[in-house]
Amino acid sequence: MGLSRSRKGVVLSLIALLIAVFFTIIFATDLNAPLDQKNDLVRSRISIMNSFTESFFSYAEETISVSGYLALRGMLIDQGLTHEYFDSSLPPSDNSSLEHQLVYCMKYGNLTNSKPCPGMSTPEKNMTLTVFLQNLSSMAYDYFKMEANFTINSITITQTKPFMVDVTVNLSLRLSDEFANISDTRMLAVPISIEGLPDALYSINGTYNQTIRKTNITKLSGWNAEDLRQLYDLHEYRNYPSAPSFIGRMKANFSASDYGIESFINNTDPGVTAYPYRTNDTTVDYQFWQSISFNCSDVKNLSSSLMPHRFQLHYDYVVNFGITNNSLYTASC
């Protein structure tokens, strides 16, 4: 009887210990799944998404600059072919407006539904903003295992500096995987240099083409005859508030602008010398190509010791370039 109880005691002790061990293992080890077991994973995925988001918008800024520059160049090339300015009276939504064609060029590589934007896309390479961003979006899935969807909400163009235009793109991005998702919308204002682009004024009205090259002379006042000679010889542009802006030149808006730029025509070019000489013309680009003339008594013919033959400027310009010695110029009539 006593032995039987001892045996029972051993068995019961074993059972009790086994139950205790079972519960200890269950609760003390990680066999059970805590509610926040995926927190580290989710945190890691969000970190990856944040990093990708920053890369996406940084890449978008660079590609907006590239596709914006190429779109402007394509539009200017087309203007040179059609010899037509953009109509500044059209609203941005009109198919023929500069703003609409810029958007179309940047997004689709076309000026209109049927007309390609010159230089934007070749069979080997498509330089539209849409394709640039699609390339990066596809990498999101291939390398980071997440879906990336973007939307170009709007594209606008403004000018706040003489040799820059600002292309502003409202861009949305949505990233998602099975653990997290992130959405972000940003306005990216990207300055684009106009240097190296054709000047619409020359392409449309001129007898030769000229690309825009900013002068290295940084002065705002105190211009002199040497500066004038450099601008003329190197076909450089300077900022001058009485001149039309870059966008104004595309839209035939030749009114004075704070962001105005101007150059001087090459009056030894055969196309220019073929023009009949007029005493009331000047060699400032927008005045010459637009046939803006002045009273010939206000137009001064600079001395050949300073400038080439028949280089004429309005008297205000003569003063602006500090040519005060009246032996260095004569009235053109």
């Binding site: 006593g2 032995l3 051993v10 002790s13 061990v21 890369s55 890449y59 590239v66 190429l70 990066l136």
Partner: protein, 167 residues
């Protein structure tokens, strides 16, 4: 009879204490066998950020200065990663130059006791292996999107930079 009862109680006590000890060993050994990835993960992320954010003029050593003097590096405002991408773009076969750039500019930024390799566009551009990855208990990988504006009309990339670190 009493002796046999005492015998069973002693065995009972031994069995119980054995089970407790074995269970405790299982519990504690199972917890300690998992390598902690936290510090290595932090380190690799910080290293990738360092490559991505540090400008050459902040980290320049004799190697960078020599390349700059030789006009192989045209702007010290480039980050280490941007410069590596430029080298890769202009001459993807000259891996030594990229490797030396990374090596000389990151010596103080990473533990020399850890093995690390860097791929750029799936090309191995940096290798600091102290052991083979198969010998490692823990290997961590991080990736970054990289690109570089080459001129007004061209952006090189996007490419993937992949850093693998193991201990």
């Amino acid at each position: 009879m009493d002796k046999r009862g005492a015998y069973f109680f002693v065995i009972d006590a031994f069995i119980a204490s054995s089970i407790i000890i074995i269970c405790l060993m299982i519990i504690f050994t199972s917890k300690n066998s998992r390598p902690d990835s936290g510090p290595a993960l932090l380190m690799i992320e910080e290293f990738a950020n360092y490559l991505q954010d540090s400008k050459l003029n902040e980290v320049q050593g004799s190697y960078v200065i020599n390349l700059s003097n030789a006009s192989s590096i045209t702007s010290l405002d480039n980050t280490i990663l941007e410069q590596a991408v430029i080298f890769y773009y202009y001459d993807s076969s000259n891996i030594t130059r990229i490797s030396q750039l990374i090596d000389t500019t990151t010596r103080s930024a990473s533990s020399q006791q850890r093995s690390m390799i860097i791929y750029l566009n799936s090309t191995l551009v940096y290798n600091r292996s102290l052991s083979t990855p198969s010998e490692s208990d823990l290997m961590i990988t991080t990736r970054r999107v990289v690109f570089k504006r080459i001129n007004e009309t061209f952006v090189y990339g996007p490419l993937i930079m992949e850093v693998k670190l193991w201990v």
